[in-house]
């Protein structure tokens, strides 16, 4: 393995990292919105969120990628950069899953917490922000981090459809040129681990910090 090949692999890792980070950010924002709509007092908002979740969870990521990459062109827009299309597709998919995960977390905060906050005259928004969400956050850490690791690995689908140069894609190209599958896919695996491991560490740390009230 020469210097250039290593750089190529690391470039792929950077592509994976970038795609993951951007997806985390946008999917978290959209996912929170979906979760809040899902528990909203307004039945229309709940219905919209429910339909979105059902539709997206039933669509393969591969198809979403294709739609996001080729769709705009078909509709007459100029072609979308691969990164944008990939982030969009991953965000749409992940927000549906995160939304549903977080709805579960919000609803698992005991109902009597709502009641207590209500009896103190807190408004619905205040109850959500100051009483429910902080408690839901603690419950949400493990499944959220688990799903984020999933996102990192899902980024590899971006190369399949739209040729975005991420880690798996570059490892495959190197293998095609050198026929050293164990070396390159092995290295790719190590690099994936290096990206995902800090997430798991962060999760542990976060859980410990949020658990201060557990005494």
């Amino acid at each position: 393995m020469n210097h250039e090949q290593l750089v190529f692999l690391l470039q792929g890792a950077w592509g994976t990292f970038l795609l993951s980070i951007l997806t985390f950010i946008f999917a978290s924002m959209t996912g929170l919105l979906i979760a809040l709509l899902r528990v909203s007092a307004n039945p229309i908002a709940r219905g919209v969120a429910f339909t979105y979740i059902q539709a997206i969870q039933g669509t393969p990521l591969l198809v979403l990628m294709g739609v996001c990459f080729y769709g705009p062109t078909i509709l007459g827009f100029t072609s979308v950069p691969a990164l944008t299309a990939a982030v969009l597709a991953l965000t749409i998919q992940s927000s549906a899953f995160l939304g549903e995960i977080w709805r579960g977390c919000i609803e698992s905060v005991p109902k009597n917490q709502w009641e207590a906050a209500e009896c103190l005259s807190l408004s619905r928004t205040q109850r959500m922000l100051m009483v429910i969400l902080p408690q839901a956050l603690r419950i949400a850490v493990p499944p959220t981090v688990g799903f984020m690791v999933q996102i990192v690995k899902n980024t590899s689908i971006a190369s399949l459809v739209i040729g975005f140069a991420e880690l798996s894609y570059n490892a495959k190209i190197l293998n095609n040129a050198t026929f050293q599958p164990f070396l390159y896919f092995g290295l790719a695996a190590v690099l994936y681990f290096i990206i995902c491991y800090p997430l798991s560490r962060l999760s542990l740390k976060l859980e410990r910090r949020l658990n201060v009230s557990r005494g």
């Binding site: 009597n112 917490q113 009641e115 207590a116 906050a117 209500e118 009896c119 103190l120 005259s121 807190l122 408004s123 205040q126 100051m130 009483v131 902080p134 408690q135 603690r138 949020l210 201060v212 009230s213 557990r214 005494g215």
Partner: protein, 283 residues
């Protein structure tokens, strides 16, 4: 009342013995006339209140009046509707028929949002399961509504928190989290949290049912102190001896109706067979 008698009363659930209360009744609980004719100044007025949970008719026309300074204990079997009746007073359950007036706010099946907000500020309620916010310190539990609903400054709110914590004897616990406290202490914090809002009426929904006899005693002593200070209170309770001691009037609910009510002596001399049986069976 001594701690011992409180403990006995809660420990001996199935062997309730009426205790003599003539000499140890609280000073301000001297019999006062309880006539249903007084209107304008009632703190609570339930009129023909009905409530259904699905097909289950849990409240079958409740009429109840509570005057300022009065302390009412509601007793009865599980499922008799006593907790539901209490919760209707704070609109935690909406009623299906009749009308409720609490602290000057009148409502039927529905209540405008602004009225509800005022109602909730006038009424403090304490639950069996404490319902403290586990992610906040004791002090923040108390100041949360003061700063965000009453728009007080942080320091003003802290002052009030200190005052109410002193009232329940837990000043030194303000920096702790609820889970670091015993059940009795948590319940006292819950009482303090309600008191901080400056309520005109306090509702207690079986507040000692989750506590062991010793912790029950410390919570009841706090309520007793409030009684002495003249707070208007409605308590749903299984502590018969306690009800007898602090309440001006005892209301026995049976199958969704008020079956019998009267002064504390009613527990020693029940008029209806149902109440007699209830008292004989303990809980």
């Amino acid at each position: 009342m001594s701690a011992v008698s409180l403990q006995q009363s809660s420990a001996g659930g199935s062997q309730y013995r009426p205790v003599s209360t003539s000499q140890d009744r609280l000073a301000n609980t001297a019999e006062r006339p309880v006539d249903g004719a007084a209107v304008a100044d009632d703190i609570v007025r339930l009129e023909n209140v009905h409530k259904w949970f699905g097909d289950n008719h849990v409240l079958k026309g409740i009429d109840l009046r509570v005057k300022p300074g009065e302390i009412i204990a509601i007793i009865g079997q599980s499922g008799s509707g006593k907790s539901t009746a209490l919760r209707c007073m704070d609109h935690l359950e909406h009623i299906d028929k009749g009308s409720v007036t609490v602290c000057g706010h009148t409502f039927g099946e529905n209540i405008p949002k602004s009225d509800l907000k005022m109602l909730r500020q006038d009424v403090g309620i304490v639950f069996q399961s404490y319902n403290l916010f586990p992610h906040l310190t004791v002090e923040r539990n108390i100041t949360l509504a003061l700063t965000s609903v009453k728009k007080m400054s942080r320091s003003q709110a802290q002052e009030i928190a200190n005052t109410v914590l002193a009232q329940v004897g837990l000043q030194e616990k303000s920096r702790m989290y609820p889970e670091q406290l015993s059940g009795g202490q948590q319940q006292r914090v819950a009482i303090a949290r309600s008191l901080a809002m400056g309520p005109k009426l306090m509702l207690f929904d079986e507040v000692t049912s989750a506590l062991d006899p010793q912790l029950t005693g410390e919570v009841l002593r706090v309520i007793e102190k409030l009684a002495r200070e003249g707070m208007t209170m409605v308590l749903v309770t299984h502590e018969m001896a306690f009800a007898m001691k602090v309440a001006h009037r005892i209301v026995y609910m049976y199958q969704g109706k008020i079956h019998e009510q009267g002064g504390p002596q009613m527990l020693r001399d029940p008029q209806t067979p149902e109440l007699k049986q209830f008292l004989d069976n303990g809980l």
